[in-house]
């Protein structure tokens, strides 16, 4: 379990062709009566990692995620197809600087990029802004705390609902000032990846454009309903 509502699933995939950080897979489950359900999940592991992992957030009225988070046991099998996705992916060879902005489980594909950066001991300027309701809701928070110190990724957090005592990070919804503080400046022409629930991504991407970042440099991955 990563948080109270998200789990990382480590998979042994036959003939896996390898992936690029940021890509996703399609998961297909098949019930006894032949009924099938498919959903997409981001790959959490770096291409270099020895274990291939997805992180899945449980959607309470969902069909596939409650099964993957709550029912799946070691040794179970299901179908995985992929990797899928081109524009929302990054490799060290693509260069930087880089700004990653993740809301909730939108952190998953960005984590694959941060892990890839670390695995390659890259010195590319990578900034990661993580937004979550509380510290307990931040996926991989222990690993990310270490990463700030060790792996050269500048990780910043904003906790929008609840902050631990003595919290030194941001404590509000993302805004222009926060995105400017995290940087890099628009003049540095960073490649930008934004992932999260639709309202979060809309807000972040609009703010980044208003700050002067090039729209074509902003790659977005949205999930869930519009919220409107």
């Amino acid at each position: 379990m990563e948080t109270s509502h998200a789990s990382t699933i480590v998979l042994d995939v036959e003939d896996w062709p390898g992936h690029i950080a940021g890509q996703h897979v399609d998961v297909r489950l098949t019930a006894q009566d032949g009924y099938q359900a498919q959903r997409s999940y981001s790959i959490a592991s770096a291409p270099e990692d020895s274990r291939f992992a997805l992180t899945v957030e449980r959607i309470d009225d969902g069909e596939v995620s409650p099964y993957l988070v709550g029912e799946l046991r070691v040794g179970d099998t299901f179908e995985v197809r992929g990797p899928i996705g081109g524009p929302f992916s990054w490799r060290v060879e693509s260069g930087g600087p880089l700004l990653l902005v993740g809301g909730g489980s939108g952190l998953v594909p960005l984590m694959a990029m941060a892990r890839h950066h670390a695995a390659r001991r890259s010195e590319i300027d990578m900034r990661l802004l993580v937004s979550a309701r509380s510290w307990e809701d931040v996926l991989y928070h222990e690993e990310l705390s270490r990463q700030v110190r060790r792996d050269g990724v500048d990780v910043r957090f904003t906790l929008t609902r609840e902050q631990p005592a003595g919290w030194g990070g941001f404590a509000r919804r993302i805004d222009a000032e926060m995105l400017s503080a995290v940087g890099p400046k628009p003049s540095a022409k960073p490649a930008i990846f934004v992932c999260g629930p639709t309202p979060f991504v809309e807000r972040a991407a609009n703010l980044l454009v208003e700050l002067g970042h090039r729209p074509q440099a902003i790659r977005a991955e949205r999930f869930g309903p519009t919220g409107s």
Partner: protein, 201 residues
């Protein structure tokens, strides 16, 4: 051989005509948003729609001219490659047949292009014959920017990435030229009933 997923039963089957759900899809009641970049915001005062490419004379409509064209309100099912389908969606817009009226062309393909740089390619035959529209309203109200407003292409018989948001023009081409997703691993035609999601489908 498809492995069974121990303990997976699926959601109670809803009261939906299964004949309306393509393979691998599920019905939603909300309206998910999927776009690969920021939402462009083009004021209608700066908006135009252009048909050009392999035709004798390009045609272009400013917003008021476009809105003055004969429009249709119709109800269709839509299917997104990310697995959701939304049934009985109501749209208002201009048929592609109306926009191509009188056009003589040797082109067999079309690239739809959009604000923000998005493109998608289609056989011309998938856009004509009452199968596709440029729509400006959803459920009787102006289309929101997140859903492609001020106007988007609507090609409901293909996966929804073909229904380019923020569409600004159709370029008729003699050769088939893969668009944004088509060049990134997604199927060139995208027929949901044949589950044409990715290149090798």
């Amino acid at each position: 051989m498809t492995p069974l997923s121990r303990g997976f039963r699926g959601r109670p089957r809803r009261d939906i005509d299964p004949a309306r759900i393509p393979p691998g899809q599920y019905a939603v009641d909300d309206f998910p948003v999927l776009s690969a970049g920021p939402t462009p915001r083009t004021p209608t005062a700066d908006w135009s729609f252009t048909v050009d490419g392999a035709i004798d004379a390009a045609a272009s409509w400013r917003w008021e001219q476009f809105m003055a064209l004969e429009s249709e309100t119709f109800t269709v099912d839509i299917h997104c490659v990310t697995k959701w389908s939304k049934l009985a969606t109501s749209w208002t817009g201009v048929s592609i047949d109306t926009l191509l009226e009188g056009v003589e062309t040797s082109a067999a393909y079309v690239t739809a292009w959009s604000d923000g740089g998005y493109t998608t390619n289609l056989p011309l035959a998938d856009l004509t014959g009452g199968k596709a529209w440029v729509v400006h309203s959803f459920d009787g109200t102006p289309l929101e920017p997140e859903h492609g407003g001020p106007a988007r292409l609507l090609v409901p018989h293909l996966y929804f990435w073909k229904s380019a948001k923020w569409v600004r023009g159709l370029r008729l081409t003699v050769d088939d030229e893969p668009g944004f997703w088509e060049a990134a691993g997604y199927h060139n035609r995208g027929d949901p009933w044949q589950e044409q999601r990715y290149w090798n489908d």
